[in-house]
């Protein structure tokens, strides 16, 4: 039985996780089409995709600590997929802003990027995500060698930008952005501690 489960996991684990990752998108689209997103569906759709982007980003960042804590290698198998889903939801978030919210009003969008810190920061995070998504495949990994890891350290800058982006757009209730910030801080502190301890190890 145990063996069967392991085999099942090895075989279909990725497919299962992939389906689960896609579920929020499917639900959101169904809600959008059936008018189930409340009185301001555009705002709700944009916001939900942004939040899912942030959640997937934090899940991606949680895979390395998880691997080290449980001493199993399987979390790493999902890191790339989660990272790409981050990019997927962030793309949806951004296109929802450009298409549904602003309806290609480029002057207004450009003014937003230049004048509104939360949009400047959010856009920065998006732009930085692009090279990571592009170089996420095996070919690029091999070609970049050591530089691949250096490049992908950008994810920490992106995560900080993403949380800041959320902080700056909220009106008064900081509860939600604080929750995300705390999770991010824990994930970063874990890495820092490991870095320090491994450096000072004789």
């Amino acid at each position: 039985m145990m063996l069967n489960l392991t085999r099942f996991w090895n075989r279909f684990g990725k497919l299962l996780v992939f389906t689960l990752c896609l579920l929020p998108f499917v639900i959101l689209v169904v809600q959008l089409l059936t008018n189930a997103l409340g009185a301001n569906p555009i705002e709700a759709f944009t916001r939900a995709n942004g939040e899912w982007g942030l959640r997937f980003l934090l899940m991606t960042l949680a895979m390395t600590p998880l691997r080290l804590i449980i001493r199993r290698s399987w979390p790493l198998r999902f890191r790339r997929m989660l990272g790409l889903f981050t990019f997927f939801y962030v793309c949806l978030h951004l296109s929802s802003y450009i298409v549904l919210d602003q309806f290609f009003d480029w002057t207004e969008i450009w003014a937003d990027i230049l004048k509104r810190p939360f949009i400047t920061i959010g856009m920065t995070a998006f732009v930085l995500l692009i090279p990571l998504a592009v170089t996420s495949n095996k070919v690029m990994m091999r070609r970049l060698g050591r530089n691949w890891q250096r490049l992908h350290r950008l994810v920490y800058v992106i995560a900080i930008c993403a949380v800041l982006h959320f902080f700056l757009l909220v009106k008064a209730d900081l509860y939600q952005p604080i929750v995300y910030a705390v999770i991010l801080i824990l994930l970063l502190v874990y890495r820092l501690l490991r870095l320090c301890t491994s450096q000072y190890r004789p």
Binding site: N40, E43, Q102, D105, D173
Partner: protein
């Protein structure tokens, strides 16, 4: 595969087309009669209709925002910060008995029962645009009366330069008040000439019905040329004072929300532009209007004022 034979449906089972077409009516009369006492009990408060006359002169002719949108998409932080929270949690608010304290620079201060406050006034329907500082807007058919008519009854003295309003503070029923998102109770204020402007109203209902709790029952302010947060809800105190009163959002973020907070597409919120707005129910954004389109009625109040400074 099972294929159901069409003869499974007896002709007597088929609803007559004329009945089918009138199914809503049928439901309302037949099933409705049986359910009526129950429905009435549950929905007594919000379904209660109000007697009113239409004030066409002060009403917008734009398409009304759906009742369901007006009553499910609310900023009323006393019941939580999500737009859906007020509709979910405001039901537990007791709005009767309700009294309002009138104090400060007036000849007739006191604590008045809501019935006595409302009694002399004829209720009017006024269709106003509502523009939220968050860049969405609605068109709402409010039921109420001019604040000016109420103010005159209590005879403010010449030292009454401002009117301050206070919302109920009752954390047991207003669960949003259990967290310090804003300083409670919520306070708002108007200059006396703003308060006396014929557009400024106290509303006790919308869409011809008693005000739903989530929209500020039992009585709220409506100042259509200002951002929505100026239109304070569930009022328990009206004070006449000499100095400009503190206002909740100004206390929370002074650089973002001023005392005046007039709708002004040319003065940006520090974090977003106010040039456009999304009318709830519409896809494309529309341009926001100076004083929310009430320039003719209110521009004179701010003549010579630097609107960038007094945002």
């Amino acid at each position: 595969m099972l294929i159901k034979n069409s003869s499974d449906i007896k002709s007597s089972d088929i609803t007559d087309e004329s009945v089918y077409l009138r199914r809503r009516e049928f439901m309302q009369t037949t099933a409705g009669i049986a359910l009526l006492p129950f429905v009435k009990m549950v929905a007594a408060k919000t379904e209660e209709t109000l007697p009113y006359i239409k004030n066409a002169g002060l009403s917008s002719k734009e398409k009304l925002t759906d009742y369901s949108a007006i009553t499910t998409y609310n900023n009323f932080y006393e019941f939580g910060t999500d737009k859906e929270s007020p509709a979910k949690y405001a039901g537990r608010l007791t709005t009767s008995p309700w009294s309002i304290v009138i104090d400060g620079e007036v000849n007739k201060p006191g604590r008045y029962q809501l019935e006595d406050i409302l009694n002399p006034h004829t209720l009017e329907e006024r269709i106003y645009r509502l523009r939220c500082v968050e860049r969405w807007s609605m068109v709402v058919p409010w039921i109420g009366f001019s604040l000016a008519d109420l103010i005159k009854r209590f005879e403010p003295t010449s030292r009454a330069k401002y009117v301050q309003f206070t919302t109920l503070h009752r954390p047991a029923e207003m669960i949003g008040q259990q967290r310090g998102v804003l300083q409670w109770p919520y306070v708002e204020g108007l200059r006396i000439d703003e308060a006396m402007n014929p557009l400024t109203m106290l509303a006790v209902g919308l869409y011809g019905k008693v005000m739903p709790n989530q929209n500020g029952a039992p009585i709220r302010l409506v100042v259509p040329w200002k951002y929505g947060f100026k239109s304070i809800k569930s009022i328990v105190r009206i004070s006449f004072i000499e100095k400009e009163p503190p206002t909740s959002w100004n206390l929370s973020a002074p650089s973002e929300y001023g005392f005046y907070s007039n709708v002004n597409p040319d003065v940006d919120h520090p974090r977003w532009s106010q040039r456009k707005e999304r009318r709830i129910g519409e896809f494309l954004r529309r341009n926001s209007l100076m004083y929310n389109g009430y320039e003719e009625q209110v521009a004179h109040l701010y003549k010579g004022m630097d609107l960038k400074k007094y945002y």
